[in-house]
Amino acid sequence: MDPVTAMYVSQGIHGLAYGMILFLVASGVSLIIGMMHIFNMAHAGFFMLSAYFTYQAVAWTGNFWLALLLAPVATGICGMLMERFLLRPLRGSGVIGDLILTVGVGLCIDAAVKMIWGTANKPLDVPKALQGLVHIAGLEYPAYRLFVIGLAVLVLVIMAVLLYKTRIGKIVRAAVSDNDMVNALGINIPLLFTFVFGVGIWLAGVAGAAIAPILSVYPGLALQMGMDAFIVVAVAGFGSLKGAFLVSILFGLMNSYGVQFISQLAPLSMFLFMAVVMIFFPHGFFGESEEE
């Protein structure tokens, strides 16, 4: 295999891995907007929180796998508490309250993280089993990135089965299209909201835990991921998981190849793309038009 192809493939793997992480975060944002009509500004904050939880769990137990399991769950519980005690009292008071509240929570997470763990970078080692490279068909792949892709696909499959094959999935999908009607049918919507919010945050948590060894853990993580996930959701359209998946992969690849070829313009390209999409598809590629 010549080095040029190898470069393409390895950049592709990087892009795919990042795209998958992006999807995990964006799908949570999309799910919460689609169902609860809340734009969760603190979502990326939870993503970062989970990365820190992972770091802390590894520091305590030394076991990455345990951390990967526990950190997202702990983050999800934090999210559920936020929904139950902060967002629920505000239900029905309009978009403004939700927006300010989630910004406030985001600020608190940011400040708390800086207070507890400081502002320095916290490096986290890739677990031993996944260090090094995997050789397939004469090409080398970094094992951990392959693992990240696999993990994201696994989560995606679980989510798809949950959403499309189970009763609770049916309820969630119905609530996305009309939650008043679902409520009228006797389903406990507030409880469902807490559950879905928790799942959304859990997804961000999985992404945070998975990305911790790739990027080191630092307080700027939230801002970076928040922006990217936000663009994905905007381009894909609110509430569309399929759209979020495709656009995340596209952006992941665009990012990694962009850095390769037009490194000066790579950060711009996503925003340019978004601006163009917003002009021609005001509701995103897969979004339904919102009621005004």
């Binding site: 403004i96 608190c108 800086k114 711009l268 925003f271 917003m278 002009i279």
Partner: protein, 325 residues
């Protein structure tokens, strides 16, 4: 009777503003200027967001345009008067808004918000990268602050903070008054009508996109004014001031104060400035204090302070409730 009270209030306010630097000293004078800049900046977004429902989430572009225009005008053109710099700032914001308006007014709702976020990010990147024009992260600094000449007779040194305070207060106060006047014109009623029901305004024969464009341009121009005063005040304008964060802050201030009311953004910026100042005095965790304050305020007053006030008022008498944005 009521009018007389109003006059007393305004005269009292002017006297307080004139005596302000003498009473509180230089530190709080500068604090007040920073607050006044934010108040005008928030008000300019309120005109778009609160009165007309143009979801402009990239207002820092216009703030930045104003700041850069003023700073560059002062550093490039010798003999540029200080009001000329403010005028340049106004024009900068106005021109950028006029350029974007045809595009922006055709998309509505969330798409408009997203478009602005994208534009803002592009603007921020350009501000970082195009160093000859903007100075990048370091910004443009050290440009001369010219004295204010009145009719070629009196020359007032603007490097003196107290003199600058009077100048800034006059400019910002005038801006606020102009914006207030703007919302009270018949066109102001059209703005509110567009917010509440654009389709119906269209049926009534008003041109919705053109009206929105006008509001957008006015908002951009006043953001430019606040940006230029900010540049003069700091004697520095860097790319930080054009970031998405700086677009979001005036929106938060407006929402905390009460969106769609004229007094709301002013209360909101005062509240933000004071909380930040107090927090800075006692702790270095300003972010945490801000976050907790936001949560507490919004749990008790979901529509901001003005919403809370009107709710209280509605308990005793009839008062219009705040619009839902």
């Amino acid at each position: 009777m009521k009018k007389a009270y109003l006059w007393i209030f305004w005269i009292g306010l002017v006297i307080v503003l004139i005596l302000f630097p003498k009473i509180v000293g230089i530190y709080y004078t500068n604090f007040f200027i920073a607050f006044a800049i934010m108040a005008v900046y928030s008000q300019s977004i309120n005109i778009e967001l609160g009165y007309t429902r143009i979801l402009n989430f990239g207002h820092a572009m216009f703030f930045g345009m104003g700041g850069y225009s003023a700073a560059q005008a002062l550093s490039l053109i010798p003999g540029m008067p200080i009001w000329g710099a403010v005028l340049c700032g106004l024009l900068g914001g106005l021109v950028l808004a006029a350029l974007l308006a045809p595009l922006v007014v055709r998309v509505s709702g969330m798409a408009c918000a997203m478009l602005h976020v994208a534009f803002n990010a592009l603007f921020f990147m350009l501000a970082m990268k195009v160093r000859p024009l903007t100075g990048g992260e370091d910004g443009i600094s050290g440009f001369p602050i010219p004295p204010l000449n009145i009719a070629g007779l009196i020359s007032i040194d603007m490097k003196d903070p107290v003199n600058f305070y009077y100048f800034a207060t006059a400019v910002l106060g005038l801006s606020l008054w102009l914006m207030w006047y703007f919302t009270k014109t018949p066109f102001g009623q059209v703005m509110i009508a567009i917010r509440d029901n654009p389709k119906r305004v269209n049926y009534l024969g008003f041109k919705v996109p053109e009206s929105k464009a006008l509001v957008y341009i006015v908002g951009g121009a006043f953001a430019g004014v606040s940006g230029s005063v900010y540049a003069l005040f700091q004697n520095l304008f860097s790319s930080d001031a054009t970031s998405g964060l700086n677009s979001f802050q005036p929106i938060l201030m407006t929402m905390i104060g009460g969106i769609g009311t004229f007094i709301g953004p002013i209360i909101g910026s005062a509240f933000f400035s004071i909380v930040e100042e107090v927090a800075r005095h006692y702790t270095d965790r300003v972010e945490l204090v801000m976050g907790v304050t936001l949560i507490i305020v919004i749990l008790f007053a979901p529509m901001g302070f003005m919403g809370f006030y009107r709710k209280l008022k509605a308990k005793w008498g009839k008062a219009p409730s705040l619009p839902k944005i």
